[in-house]
Symmetry: C2
Subunit: 213 residues, 2 copies
């Protein structure tokens, strides 16, 4: 990536917009959505506010485009490797997620908070990203019938709900751990979260009243 600060590069409007979005995402990694203004972007990119309004329409349009880009980046960097054992592929994806949250903590926190806030469009982008991350569990597992069997699960509304829950748990635990590791090493954290997934899903096959396997 080339620096956009202080000099102009001849490029197509589409390329230019992508470059501005990349810059917006980088700025978001250390500040909240609310602190991400057209003014800050204009200063960092060395271009006029008017041109930014031309690209993004409004501050809200800019926020949505940046949050969409950040969500796409998250989905991309946490893509499981195409090859390998399913549990190993999920473990690699989980580690990439933890690394992403560590590297982009302020921006990720901001994304989660923005999703909970008043802007319905930001919430939808966040929910779509969450759904994409959760669906992967089933995609990877479905690619290997033995894994579904190993987890003892079928793809039902209740297992989808539980997978979503595991994803929420992971988000909450990783964010709590980044704020306060409490002596828990990253390898242990990854292990705990990976081990929790079959633990969570296994509940969907035991009968009511048998809380323990």
């Amino acid at each position: 990536m080339t620096s956009t600060a202080g000099h102009r590069v001849r490029m197509t409007p589409g390329d230019r917009r992508d470059q501005l979005l990349d810059l917006g995402v980088r700025l978001l990694s250390t500040r909240s959505v609310d602190e991400l203004s057209i003014d800050v972007l204009a200063e960092e990119a060395g271009i006029s506010r008017g041109l930014l309004y031309h690209y993004f329409g409004s501050k809200q349009g800019f926020h949505r485009a940046v949050v969409r880009q950040a969500a796409d980046d998250l989905i991309r960097v946490t893509a499981p490797p195409a090859e390998g054992e399913p549990l190993e592929r999920l473990a690699r994806s989980l580690e990439a997620y933890v690394d992403y949250v560590v590297s982009n903590f302020a921006g990720y926190t901001s994304l989660v908070r923005a999703a909970a806030g008043g802007d319905e469009a930001l919430r939808e982008i966040y929910e779509e990203a969450r759904a994409a991350l959760t669906d992967r569990i089933f995609d990877v597992a479905a690619a290997d019938g033995n894994l579904l069997e190993a987890f003892g699960i079928a793809d039902t509304p209740s297992t989808r709900l539980l997978a979503r829950g595991w994803s929420a748990m992971t988000e909450d635990v990783v964010m709590a751990w980044v704020r306060e590791p409490a002596g828990v090493a990253k390898a242990e954290l990854l292990h705990l979260l990976a081990a929790a997934l079959p633990g969570v899903l296994a509940g969907s096959t035991t009968t009511a009243g048998q809380a323990r396997p």
Copy 2:
């Protein structure tokens, strides 16, 4: 509870404030924190805005007092029964939680969103309530050494982190379920969440690499 709308009751200022807070919490059950204004409360309580500012200082003070009261209510109604088998006590507490979220969905959603929003005081109240709910798992389990043994856990930073994660999962799953039950009955939901707790905590005792028990 007596209705406060349309008539005055002679009571102490402390009683009066409590009554206004109860009304605020009831109003919160069907609207967001942002929609909960001094004006709405004044109209519902049949008293002047000036008097409400006297009690709560500001709109922000009013919001904090109502959210604090809502959090206290949540902790109170979900208190596990004092007697019984530990897993049964936790199951009863979980059911009370689900019932609370169902009955107060708008207000609870609002509480969760407010906690994620910009007001640090609201976030703290929410975090305290979450911590209180999570600590119970250990309080109940610690009251019965066999339960800790049955879960195969010790009270360590990593199990505290996982219990917090289970609590986040529960919140997310219950809210998703209320919005879209997808054919999952309440009894099944309760079973899935209760079964997930030992499933989540069990991970803390297996060694790295052994994701499955």
